[in-house]
Symmetry: C2
Subunit: 338 residues, 2 copies
Amino acid sequence: MPKPLNVAVVGATGLVGSQLLNVMKERDFPVGNLKLLASSRSVGMKVEFRGSEIEVLRAQPDAFEGTDIAFFCAGSDISRELAPHAVKAGAVVIDKSNAFRMDPDVPLVVPEVNPEALADHKGIVASPNCSTIQMVVALKPIQLLSRIERVIVSTYQAVTGTGKEAAEELHEQSEAVLAGKKASPVVYPYQIAFNLLPHIDSFWDNGFTGEEMKMVLETKKILGDDDIQVAATTVRVPVFNCHSESVSVKTIHPLGALRVRQALASAPGVVVADEPSLGIYPMPIDASGRDEVFVGRIRDDLDDPTWVHFWLVADNLRKGAATNAVQIAERMIQEGLL
Amino acid sequence: MPKPLNVAVVGATGLVGSQLLNVMKERDFPVGNLKLLASSRSVGMKVEFRGSEIEVLRAQPDAFEGTDIAFFCAGSDISRELAPHAVKAGAVVIDKSNAFRMDPDVPLVVPEVNPEALADHKGIVASPNCSTIQMVVALKPIQLLSRIERVIVSTYQAVTGTGKEAAEELHEQSEAVLAGKKASPVVYPYQIAFNLLPHIDSFWDNGFTGEEMKMVLETKKILGDDDIQVAATTVRVPVFNCHSESVSVKTIHPLGALRVRQALASAPGVVVADEPSLGIYPMPIDASGRDEVFVGRIRDDLDDPTWVHFWLVADNLRKGAATNAVQIAERMIQEGLL
């Protein structure tokens, strides 16, 4: 039995923070003292954890005294401001935000893919963007068979990726539209109910969005190959939970769908759901609440044996965020890094 | 003023048939006598057209006497059964279904793309699949600049592509899910509300769906180049109307997003909606009710100048079906083919 750790959760009342508490309970994560931290809006709220009511405290620089591990589940600004204080107080920070992911001193880790990167940590470990995590879990077993030349991915991303208010907005707008009323966008720039937004995060000068560039840059870093050419189109869809992705991969050596399916079937963290003749393929409603990446529709290209195409779905709040963060911590405990 | 034509519409009470009547009104299509034909379910219904109430008659082999042009807006089975009778009766058939699209004796036409194919018609002209039409309208101006080597497309297809019952199913299921109830799938194999189905049409042995293979095969035929490598992933999304597509194109010669944007901006049937910094990009809610194909998010690949990426949206009932059929007829009138 590993020794209990003093844990802090920053952003404890958000969608990812709540899910993180669930995941720690489910996986019997060795929590000693638990500090729940949040912005002033949530201070004073009580949150249940393993039978105790824990009061939410203010996330501030001096909140990390005695903390062994701090999970940051809030935005990049909060991480940039407070993570250095947590490290100074002696905690290891596992950061879900975009703040440090591309910092060469910060490992960017998906435990099924590049756990070896953890050894080099200097106090902060970053968990990748949700849409990157689920893709690299499926790319890694392919990369083990052949270098990957190019990835073209189009995403279908759920509103929980934005947060609680976005999920409420989809709910309210859907009710309005079904009743023949106008939708009032607040969180998103346009109506999300029964619509699609080819726009996640802000636009870069190169025409890609921040979300698309995360998939490009993080994939290279996690897979340890700067030469992988990644082109992403990220799209917000009117789905509450679970991101889906249509992925085309070109490898240096021709692999074929059969070998790719076999490799995926035995890969950690992957469930192959690929029996189209029986109506079996990954869907958001089936992946919600699960920790695995579901891969299906695996098929050969019709013309070029170096391409293969597939479809994958994962719970963006769990494997895409909370579960990956807890898995990072578990791995660090196993390896004596924590 | 062109001489009025005797027009028959098969499937007159369906979503595409109704839209076809609207489009003929809007475009002042020279309709003389109008016969509305449908299955026995709709026989006896009255439909308004230019101030007259027209009774729906049964679609049957002897219904085409005196018809100059018969628009088929029903399923492939109906077209296979009745189109030969319409041709025998002297009508030109413009068929929206999949029945004859790949028949070498049948032109498969998008008027902005390959109007020259109409000259060879032998009584039947096929209108392509909705998701193909909107893609080839955008591919043609690119093909005029350079041969296209490969197209990778992921679709986001609306439920009106399936029909009226599917739109009702999305409405009812959405209400149920929002009220915390279970969705009951009837038209689709699984819940479509707040979910995604990577499954349109039936699965082929090669792992692609019929819908995906339509995009592959029809694109080659319409663009007149069997060597274009097309890989499609077609996905049903909880959107009522308008199909969207994330398209990546590899050309023999490097073109660059700037030249592609210019070519698209001056191409017939295309509206470039591509000012991301101003929040301008194509969306289903904006394209609904319009006849153009809206293209945006046009951007260079980050690594390879022979790839370009974009996003396009069109009204699948209009340009994807009714409008394209009427445009075919208009073009045939212009060229004295009708």
